[in-house]
Assembly symmetry: C2
Amino acid sequence: MQLAEAKAQFIANWGRFGSNWGINRTMAQIHALLLVSPDNLSADEVMEQLNISRGNANMNLRELMDWGLVQKVIVPGERKEFFNAEKDIWKVARQIVKERKKRELDLMIPVLKELSEVEGDKRDKAVKTFTDTIQNIRRFSEQADKTLDTMIKADEHWFWSSLIKLFGAKRD
Amino acid sequence: MQLAEAKAQFIANWGRFGSNWGINRTMAQIHALLLVSPDNLSADEVMEQLNISRGNANMNLRELMDWGLVQKVIVPGERKEFFNAEKDIWKVARQIVKERKKRELDLMIPVLKELSEVEGDKRDKAVKTFTDTIQNIRRFSEQADKTLDTMIKADEHWFWSSLIKLFGAKRD
DNA sequence: ATAAACTTTCAATTATTTCTGAAACTTCAG
DNA sequence: CTGAAGTTTCAGAAATAATTGAAAGTTTAT
Protein backbone atom coordinates (compact mmCIF):
# COMPACT_ATOMS: atom_id res chain seq x y z
CA MET A 1 0.00 0.00 0.00
CA GLN A 2 1.21 3.49 -0.84
CA LEU A 3 1.52 6.18 1.78
CA ALA A 4 -1.32 8.31 0.44
CA GLU A 5 -3.77 5.42 0.55
CA ALA A 6 -2.59 4.25 3.96
CA LYS A 7 -2.99 7.75 5.31
CA ALA A 8 -6.52 8.00 3.91
CA GLN A 9 -7.42 4.66 5.44
CA PHE A 10 -6.03 5.58 8.78
CA ILE A 11 -7.97 8.84 8.81
CA ALA A 12 -11.19 7.10 7.81
CA ASN A 13 -10.78 4.44 10.47
CA TRP A 14 -9.88 6.85 13.21
CA GLY A 15 -12.95 8.88 12.30
CA ARG A 16 -15.24 5.87 12.42
CA PHE A 17 -13.71 4.79 15.69
CA GLY A 18 -14.17 8.23 17.20
CA SER A 19 -17.82 8.43 16.30
CA ASN A 20 -18.46 5.18 18.19
CA TRP A 21 -17.14 6.94 21.25
CA GLY A 22 -19.21 10.07 21.10
CA ILE A 23 -16.57 12.11 19.28
CA ASN A 24 -17.54 13.90 16.12
CA ARG A 25 -16.13 12.24 13.05
CA THR A 26 -14.41 15.30 11.64
CA MET A 27 -12.69 16.05 14.92
CA ALA A 28 -11.27 12.53 15.00
CA GLN A 29 -10.19 12.81 11.37
CA ILE A 30 -8.36 16.07 11.95
CA HIS A 31 -6.67 14.44 14.90
CA ALA A 32 -5.67 11.47 12.76
CA LEU A 33 -4.33 13.75 10.05
CA LEU A 34 -2.19 15.68 12.51
CA LEU A 35 -0.98 12.44 14.12
CA VAL A 36 0.57 11.24 10.88
CA SER A 37 1.76 14.59 9.56
CA PRO A 38 5.47 15.18 10.04
CA ASP A 39 4.99 18.94 9.97
CA ASN A 40 2.52 21.17 11.73
CA LEU A 41 -0.38 22.05 9.48
CA SER A 42 -2.22 25.29 8.90
CA ALA A 43 -6.00 25.49 8.92
CA ASP A 44 -5.86 25.78 5.13
CA GLU A 45 -3.93 22.55 4.81
CA VAL A 46 -6.39 20.74 7.08
CA MET A 47 -9.33 22.08 5.06
CA GLU A 48 -7.75 21.02 1.83
CA GLN A 49 -6.64 17.57 2.89
CA LEU A 50 -9.95 16.63 4.47
CA ASN A 51 -12.20 18.55 2.11
CA ILE A 52 -13.98 20.48 4.79
CA SER A 53 -15.00 24.10 5.17
CA ARG A 54 -13.10 26.78 7.01
CA GLY A 55 -15.74 27.01 9.73
CA ASN A 56 -15.71 23.29 10.30
CA ALA A 57 -11.93 23.14 10.47
CA ASN A 58 -11.79 26.04 12.87
CA MET A 59 -14.45 24.64 15.17
CA ASN A 60 -12.97 21.19 15.40
CA LEU A 61 -9.42 22.43 15.84
CA ARG A 62 -10.62 24.53 18.73
CA GLU A 63 -12.39 21.50 20.20
CA LEU A 64 -9.19 19.46 19.88
CA MET A 65 -7.30 22.20 21.68
CA ASP A 66 -9.95 22.20 24.43
CA TRP A 67 -9.33 18.49 24.82
CA GLY A 68 -5.62 19.20 25.10
CA LEU A 69 -4.84 16.97 22.14
CA VAL A 70 -3.64 19.66 19.75
CA GLN A 71 -1.57 22.79 20.23
CA LYS A 72 -1.48 25.97 18.27
CA VAL A 73 2.04 26.79 17.12
CA ILE A 74 3.08 30.29 16.19
CA VAL A 75 5.95 30.44 13.74
CA PRO A 76 7.89 33.71 13.94
CA GLY A 77 7.61 35.64 10.73
CA GLU A 78 4.45 33.75 9.59
CA ARG A 79 0.97 35.22 9.76
CA LYS A 80 -0.68 31.80 9.74
CA GLU A 81 -1.19 29.65 12.80
CA PHE A 82 -0.09 26.04 12.71
CA PHE A 83 -1.39 23.02 14.56
CA ASN A 84 0.47 20.20 16.18
CA ALA A 85 -0.80 16.98 17.75
CA GLU A 86 0.97 15.05 20.48
CA LYS A 87 2.09 11.82 18.81
CA ASP A 88 2.83 9.64 21.81
CA ILE A 89 -0.33 7.57 22.12
CA TRP A 90 0.17 6.85 25.78
CA LYS A 91 0.12 10.58 26.44
CA VAL A 92 -2.90 10.97 24.19
CA ALA A 93 -4.75 8.21 26.02
CA ARG A 94 -3.94 9.72 29.39
CA GLN A 95 -5.12 13.11 28.25
CA ILE A 96 -8.41 11.66 26.99
CA VAL A 97 -8.93 9.79 30.25
CA LYS A 98 -8.20 12.95 32.18
CA GLU A 99 -10.68 15.03 30.21
CA ARG A 100 -13.46 12.47 30.19
CA LYS A 101 -13.03 11.94 33.88
CA LYS A 102 -13.33 15.67 34.45
CA ARG A 103 -16.32 16.07 32.15
CA GLU A 104 -18.24 12.98 33.17
CA LEU A 105 -17.18 10.94 36.17
CA ASP A 106 -16.51 13.99 38.32
CA LEU A 107 -19.99 15.28 37.50
CA MET A 108 -21.66 11.92 38.02
CA ILE A 109 -20.28 11.28 41.51
CA PRO A 110 -22.13 14.12 43.27
CA VAL A 111 -25.34 13.17 41.45
CA LEU A 112 -25.02 9.62 42.75
CA LYS A 113 -24.45 10.91 46.26
CA GLU A 114 -27.59 12.99 46.00
CA LEU A 115 -29.61 10.07 44.63
CA SER A 116 -28.35 7.71 47.32
CA GLU A 117 -30.14 9.87 49.88
CA VAL A 118 -33.60 9.13 48.51
CA GLU A 119 -36.37 9.16 51.14
CA GLY A 120 -38.49 6.14 51.88
CA ASP A 121 -38.77 2.92 53.80
CA LYS A 122 -35.95 0.47 53.07
CA ARG A 123 -38.39 -2.39 53.51
CA ASP A 124 -40.15 -1.14 50.41
CA LYS A 125 -38.75 -3.29 47.63
CA ALA A 126 -38.73 -0.43 45.14
CA VAL A 127 -36.73 1.77 47.49
CA LYS A 128 -34.35 -1.01 48.38
CA THR A 129 -33.58 -1.90 44.77
CA PHE A 130 -33.04 1.73 43.93
CA THR A 131 -30.68 2.48 46.81
CA ASP A 132 -28.80 -0.78 46.40
CA THR A 133 -28.19 -0.14 42.72
CA ILE A 134 -27.15 3.46 43.26
CA GLN A 135 -24.81 2.42 46.06
CA ASN A 136 -23.28 -0.23 43.87
CA ILE A 137 -22.70 2.27 41.07
CA ARG A 138 -21.36 4.77 43.56
CA ARG A 139 -18.79 2.43 45.00
CA PHE A 140 -17.73 1.42 41.52
CA SER A 141 -17.42 5.04 40.41
CA GLU A 142 -15.36 6.03 43.41
CA GLN A 143 -13.03 3.15 42.89
CA ALA A 144 -12.70 4.03 39.21
CA ASP A 145 -12.11 7.67 40.15
CA LYS A 146 -9.11 6.79 42.28
CA THR A 147 -7.72 4.31 39.83
CA LEU A 148 -8.00 6.70 36.89
CA ASP A 149 -6.29 9.46 38.87
CA THR A 150 -3.37 7.16 39.40
CA MET A 151 -3.29 6.15 35.78
CA ILE A 152 -3.28 9.80 34.75
CA LYS A 153 -0.12 10.31 36.75
CA ALA A 154 1.56 7.05 35.78
CA ASP A 155 4.24 6.66 33.18
CA GLU A 156 3.68 4.16 30.44
CA HIS A 157 6.42 1.70 31.15
CA TRP A 158 5.58 1.45 34.81
CA PHE A 159 1.86 1.20 34.11
CA TRP A 160 1.95 -1.66 31.63
CA SER A 161 4.72 -3.60 33.24
CA SER A 162 2.93 -3.48 36.59
CA LEU A 163 -0.27 -4.70 35.02
CA ILE A 164 1.51 -7.48 33.20
CA LYS A 165 3.15 -8.63 36.36
CA LEU A 166 -0.11 -8.41 38.22
CA PHE A 167 -2.13 -10.26 35.65
CA GLY A 168 0.64 -12.69 34.94
CA ALA A 169 0.83 -13.61 38.61
CA LYS A 170 -2.90 -14.18 38.80
CA ARG A 171 -3.00 -16.38 35.73
CA ASP A 172 -0.42 -18.87 37.04
CA MET B 1 -36.02 13.50 47.31
CA GLN B 2 -38.85 11.08 46.65
CA LEU B 3 -38.28 7.80 44.87
CA ALA B 4 -40.18 8.77 41.73
CA GLU B 5 -38.11 11.91 41.24
CA ALA B 6 -34.84 10.16 42.05
CA LYS B 7 -35.65 7.46 39.55
CA ALA B 8 -36.45 10.01 36.86
CA GLN B 9 -33.21 11.82 37.56
CA PHE B 10 -31.19 8.65 37.44
CA ILE B 11 -32.74 7.69 34.12
CA ALA B 12 -32.12 11.12 32.64
CA ASN B 13 -28.50 11.16 33.78
CA TRP B 14 -27.77 7.65 32.59
CA GLY B 15 -29.25 8.60 29.22
CA ARG B 16 -27.10 11.70 28.93
CA PHE B 17 -24.06 9.77 30.01
CA GLY B 18 -24.74 7.06 27.44
CA SER B 19 -25.05 9.49 24.58
CA ASN B 20 -21.58 10.86 25.38
CA TRP B 21 -20.28 7.37 24.79
CA GLY B 22 -21.88 6.65 21.45
CA ILE B 23 -24.89 4.86 22.93
CA ASN B 24 -28.33 5.95 21.92
CA ARG B 25 -30.08 7.85 24.66
CA THR B 26 -33.19 5.71 24.78
CA MET B 27 -31.18 2.54 25.01
CA ALA B 28 -29.33 3.91 28.03
CA GLN B 29 -32.59 5.06 29.59
CA ILE B 30 -34.22 1.66 29.24
CA HIS B 31 -31.12 0.17 30.79
CA ALA B 32 -31.33 2.63 33.69
CA LEU B 33 -35.01 1.90 34.20
CA LEU B 34 -34.39 -1.83 34.36
CA LEU B 35 -31.41 -1.35 36.68
CA VAL B 36 -33.59 0.27 39.33
CA SER B 37 -36.73 -1.80 38.84
CA PRO B 38 -37.18 -4.50 41.44
CA ASP B 39 -39.29 -6.59 39.08
CA ASN B 40 -38.78 -7.54 35.50
CA LEU B 41 -40.71 -5.28 33.17
CA SER B 42 -42.77 -6.00 30.09
CA ALA B 43 -42.34 -4.02 26.88
CA ASP B 44 -45.62 -2.26 27.71
CA GLU B 45 -44.31 -1.10 31.06
CA VAL B 46 -41.11 0.19 29.50
CA MET B 47 -43.11 2.05 26.84
CA GLU B 48 -45.35 3.57 29.42
CA GLN B 49 -42.69 4.58 31.93
CA LEU B 50 -40.42 6.19 29.34
CA ASN B 51 -43.13 7.46 27.02
CA ILE B 52 -41.76 5.80 23.95
CA SER B 53 -43.35 3.87 21.11
CA ARG B 54 -43.64 0.13 20.83
CA GLY B 55 -41.18 -0.01 17.94
CA ASN B 56 -38.60 2.04 19.78
CA ALA B 57 -38.91 -0.05 22.93
CA ASN B 58 -38.62 -3.25 20.95
CA MET B 59 -35.60 -2.11 19.00
CA ASN B 60 -33.65 -0.85 21.97
CA LEU B 61 -34.48 -3.85 24.13
CA ARG B 62 -33.15 -6.07 21.36
CA GLU B 63 -29.99 -3.96 21.19
CA LEU B 64 -29.55 -4.26 24.96
CA MET B 65 -29.90 -8.02 24.63
CA ASP B 66 -27.29 -8.02 21.84
CA TRP B 67 -24.95 -6.23 24.21
CA GLY B 68 -25.65 -8.89 26.81
CA LEU B 69 -26.90 -6.34 29.32
CA VAL B 70 -30.53 -7.43 29.40
CA GLN B 71 -32.19 -10.83 29.34
CA LYS B 72 -35.62 -11.84 28.19
CA VAL B 73 -37.48 -13.70 30.89
CA ILE B 74 -40.38 -16.01 30.12
CA VAL B 75 -42.84 -16.40 32.96
CA PRO B 76 -44.78 -19.68 32.78
CA GLY B 77 -48.45 -19.03 32.28
CA GLU B 78 -47.89 -15.48 30.92
CA ARG B 79 -48.08 -14.54 27.27
CA LYS B 80 -45.95 -11.42 27.70
CA GLU B 81 -42.18 -11.41 27.72
CA PHE B 82 -40.37 -9.69 30.55
CA PHE B 83 -36.99 -8.04 30.66
CA ASN B 84 -34.32 -8.16 33.29
CA ALA B 85 -31.05 -6.26 33.62
CA GLU B 86 -27.98 -7.49 35.45
CA LYS B 87 -27.68 -5.18 38.46
CA ASP B 88 -24.09 -5.85 39.53
CA ILE B 89 -22.24 -2.92 37.98
CA TRP B 90 -18.92 -4.72 37.94
CA LYS B 91 -20.50 -7.40 35.74
CA VAL B 92 -22.12 -4.74 33.60
CA ALA B 93 -18.81 -2.94 33.13
CA ARG B 94 -17.04 -6.15 32.21
CA GLN B 95 -19.72 -7.02 29.71
CA ILE B 96 -19.46 -3.59 28.09
CA VAL B 97 -15.68 -3.85 27.91
CA LYS B 98 -16.00 -7.31 26.38
CA GLU B 99 -18.43 -6.18 23.70
CA ARG B 100 -16.63 -2.98 22.80
CA LYS B 101 -13.37 -4.84 22.59
CA LYS B 102 -14.96 -7.34 20.23
CA ARG B 103 -16.64 -4.67 18.12
CA GLU B 104 -13.79 -2.18 17.98
CA LEU B 105 -10.35 -3.07 19.23
CA ASP B 106 -10.41 -6.53 17.66
CA LEU B 107 -11.30 -4.94 14.32
CA MET B 108 -8.75 -2.15 14.65
CA ILE B 109 -5.73 -4.38 15.32
CA PRO B 110 -5.64 -6.07 11.88
CA VAL B 111 -6.13 -2.69 10.21
CA LEU B 112 -3.11 -1.32 12.06
CA LYS B 113 -1.05 -4.32 11.04
CA GLU B 114 -2.00 -3.71 7.41
CA LEU B 115 -1.18 -0.01 7.68
CA SER B 116 2.15 -0.68 9.32
CA GLU B 117 3.28 -2.39 6.13
CA VAL B 118 3.08 0.76 4.04
CA GLU B 119 5.59 0.92 1.17
CA GLY B 120 8.20 3.62 0.87
CA ASP B 121 11.60 4.80 1.94
CA LYS B 122 11.99 5.17 5.70
CA ARG B 123 14.31 8.10 5.14
CA ASP B 124 11.32 9.95 3.75
CA LYS B 125 10.06 12.00 6.70
CA ALA B 126 6.40 11.50 5.76
CA VAL B 127 6.82 7.72 5.64
CA LYS B 128 8.76 7.67 8.87
CA THR B 129 6.21 9.71 10.81
CA PHE B 130 3.40 7.57 9.50
CA THR B 131 4.99 4.24 10.35
CA ASP B 132 6.23 5.45 13.72
CA THR B 133 2.80 6.66 14.73
CA ILE B 134 1.07 3.51 13.52
CA GLN B 135 3.61 1.35 15.34
CA ASN B 136 3.09 3.32 18.50
CA ILE B 137 -0.69 2.91 18.27
CA ARG B 138 -0.25 -0.75 17.44
CA ARG B 139 1.88 -1.49 20.46
CA PHE B 140 -0.53 0.39 22.65
CA SER B 141 -3.52 -1.48 21.23
CA GLU B 142 -1.91 -4.84 21.68
CA GLN B 143 -1.06 -4.08 25.24
CA ALA B 144 -4.61 -2.89 25.88
CA ASP B 145 -5.95 -6.00 24.19
CA LYS B 146 -4.15 -8.27 26.61
CA THR B 147 -4.97 -6.19 29.63
CA LEU B 148 -8.66 -5.98 28.82
CA ASP B 149 -8.83 -9.73 28.25
CA THR B 150 -7.53 -10.22 31.72
CA MET B 151 -9.92 -7.71 33.18
CA ILE B 152 -12.82 -9.45 31.46
CA LYS B 153 -11.91 -12.62 33.29
CA ALA B 154 -11.12 -11.00 36.65
CA ASP B 155 -13.40 -10.88 39.63
CA GLU B 156 -14.14 -7.52 41.16
CA HIS B 157 -12.58 -7.92 44.55
CA TRP B 158 -9.35 -9.24 43.17
CA PHE B 159 -9.22 -6.62 40.45
CA TRP B 160 -9.65 -3.54 42.62
CA SER B 161 -7.63 -4.75 45.55
CA SER B 162 -4.72 -5.61 43.29
CA LEU B 163 -4.85 -2.21 41.70
CA ILE B 164 -5.03 -0.48 45.04
CA LYS B 165 -2.06 -2.39 46.30
CA LEU B 166 -0.17 -1.68 43.12
CA PHE B 167 -0.96 2.01 42.99
CA GLY B 168 -0.61 2.39 46.72
CA ALA B 169 2.86 0.89 46.58
CA LYS B 170 3.92 3.22 43.79
CA ARG B 171 2.65 6.34 45.55
CA ASP B 172 4.74 5.78 48.69
C1' DA C 1 -58.64 -23.75 12.16
C1' DT C 2 -59.39 -19.33 14.42
C1' DA C 3 -58.68 -15.38 16.82
C1' DA C 4 -56.77 -12.90 20.56
C1' DA C 5 -52.45 -11.52 22.55
C1' DC C 6 -48.33 -10.25 21.74
C1' DT C 7 -43.83 -9.15 19.03
C1' DT C 8 -41.30 -7.59 15.04
C1' DT C 9 -40.41 -4.87 11.05
C1' DC C 10 -39.82 -0.90 8.34
C1' DA C 11 -41.17 3.26 5.45
C1' DA C 12 -42.08 7.71 6.63
C1' DT C 13 -41.50 11.37 9.91
C1' DT C 14 -39.12 13.99 13.36
C1' DA C 15 -35.23 15.33 16.04
C1' DT C 16 -30.44 16.05 16.51
C1' DT C 17 -26.00 16.86 15.02
C1' DT C 18 -22.80 18.50 11.89
C1' DC C 19 -21.27 21.48 8.18
C1' DT C 20 -21.08 25.43 5.18
C1' DG C 21 -20.01 29.93 3.72
C1' DA C 22 -20.27 34.55 4.09
C1' DA C 23 -19.94 38.36 7.26
C1' DA C 24 -17.69 40.15 11.23
C1' DC C 25 -13.72 40.44 13.59
C1' DT C 26 -8.59 40.71 14.56
C1' DT C 27 -3.86 41.48 13.56
C1' DC C 28 -0.20 43.43 11.45
C1' DA C 29 2.87 45.60 7.74
C1' DG C 30 3.50 49.63 5.27
C1' DC D 1 -4.70 55.08 9.41
C1' DT D 2 -5.55 51.42 5.58
C1' DG D 3 -6.11 47.21 3.67
C1' DA D 4 -4.46 42.53 3.08
C1' DA D 5 -4.02 38.19 5.53
C1' DG D 6 -5.84 35.54 8.58
C1' DT D 7 -9.36 33.81 12.20
C1' DT D 8 -13.86 33.37 14.35
C1' DT D 9 -18.77 33.25 14.53
C1' DC D 10 -23.22 31.70 13.56
C1' DA D 11 -27.76 31.30 10.97
C1' DG D 12 -29.39 28.33 7.71
C1' DA D 13 -28.70 23.97 4.96
C1' DA D 14 -27.47 19.26 4.75
C1' DA D 15 -26.58 14.94 6.67
C1' DT D 16 -27.33 11.55 10.11
C1' DA D 17 -29.70 9.27 13.71
C1' DA D 18 -33.70 8.14 16.29
C1' DT D 19 -38.66 7.46 16.59
C1' DT D 20 -43.30 6.45 15.36
C1' DG D 21 -47.15 3.69 14.20
C1' DA D 22 -49.42 0.67 11.48
C1' DA D 23 -49.08 -3.60 9.03
C1' DA D 24 -47.15 -8.10 9.02
C1' DG D 25 -45.66 -11.87 11.60
C1' DT D 26 -45.79 -15.20 15.50
C1' DT D 27 -47.52 -17.83 19.28
C1' DT D 28 -50.87 -19.99 21.98
C1' DA D 29 -55.45 -21.28 23.92
C1' DT D 30 -59.56 -23.13 22.64
